[in-house]
Symmetry: C2
Subunit: 192 residues, 2 copies
Amino acid sequence: MGRVKTYDEALRQRLLAEAAQLLSSEGVGALTLRRVAALADTSTTAVYSLFGDKDQLLTAMYVDGFARLGRALTRARAGAPLEALGSVGMAYRRAALAAPHLYGLMFGGLAPSADAKQVADAAFQPLVESVQTCLDSGDLRGRDAETIATYLWAVSHGLVSLEIAGLVGGSLRARTEGYRDALTMSIVGHLP
Amino acid sequence: MGRVKTYDEALRQRLLAEAAQLLSSEGVGALTLRRVAALADTSTTAVYSLFGDKDQLLTAMYVDGFARLGRALTRARAGAPLEALGSVGMAYRRAALAAPHLYGLMFGGLAPSADAKQVADAAFQPLVESVQTCLDSGDLRGRDAETIATYLWAVSHGLVSLEIAGLVGGSLRARTEGYRDALTMSIVGHLP
DNA sequence: GGTCCAATCATAACATCGTTTCGATAACGA
DNA sequence: TCGTTATCGAAACGATGTTATGATTGGACC
């Protein structure tokens, strides 16, 4: 009974897509429920019915962002262990710079709920596994996989974050090489 | 002519202090002009007269935050070159964790104006100088001071940022040791 | 010393935001 | 056919950033 639902999974995906597009093109300041709803040809009520809240819409974008990042890292794992690890590192920066506003949302204070943090940890796993593969093959040693992976994550996130904030000088090519250099240096520190 | 000014430098400092207190205790979401003005016993007009805008108030907090950070890093420079460099690194984390919301404001997307970025660069100089001292004394080698300093900054900022986001496990003591370990590892990579 | 005047500020109005309420709508069972 | 009930769009509400308005104040001038 009742009338047919139009607040369905398809609309949810459309809202998420429009919100992501708006975030990407105009930044987090332009993310208003009225604009997102209008872009998806619906009313603001849809957001409350499908997400519950603006914060929960942002959390959904946060979760989606980490899921995409995790898949991008997994896709990058190819070749010999050390080579794959380097590829994962470069893919991390590529994903972040492709959607800097989303990246800012993912790491920008928004206190993540317990399950949201779980998604972030899941996105982190491809890196841990890649490090573990290097440990197993004897290409790396000295610390456990999680410790080394956290360290590499910090280097990557740190440099990317400074770069997005405009605090790293040089041309795009120079910054890319600087990132590759920093990554190599960090990996070299764990060679046998 | 006219009446006596009450929107003076003292009120400006008071507004900045109250805003910082509010940010520190309740986060960026609680930073409303009406609350800040009420805490400083004035009206919202004062903010517009003294800062021009809410964004410019936030920018002033951003600038103040980097200035404090720079002073904290400068204060930490003591002892032999390598020892001083390590102290600067540990002081960086201490300053960030002491005011995580402010730290988030400083690195959280807020597109910094050209002169605001200059302040951030200035805060970064104590680290560059500390690295340069190590290069001059022969304790470090292999890259120029700015490159090494940027790398160390990335490691520090990355780990601190992940820690604030709740993405680094372990107790506070374990995280402190993990940070010290990462810092040491990053410096060791540049030993002669 | 009284009167104007211009600078200065507190108050109130405005547009917009997130959120909630409410009446209109539309399918299903009787 | 009709009533019931889930569902939705529009409008209302409080709060926010911002701007306009009018009251207030202290010196300048006669």
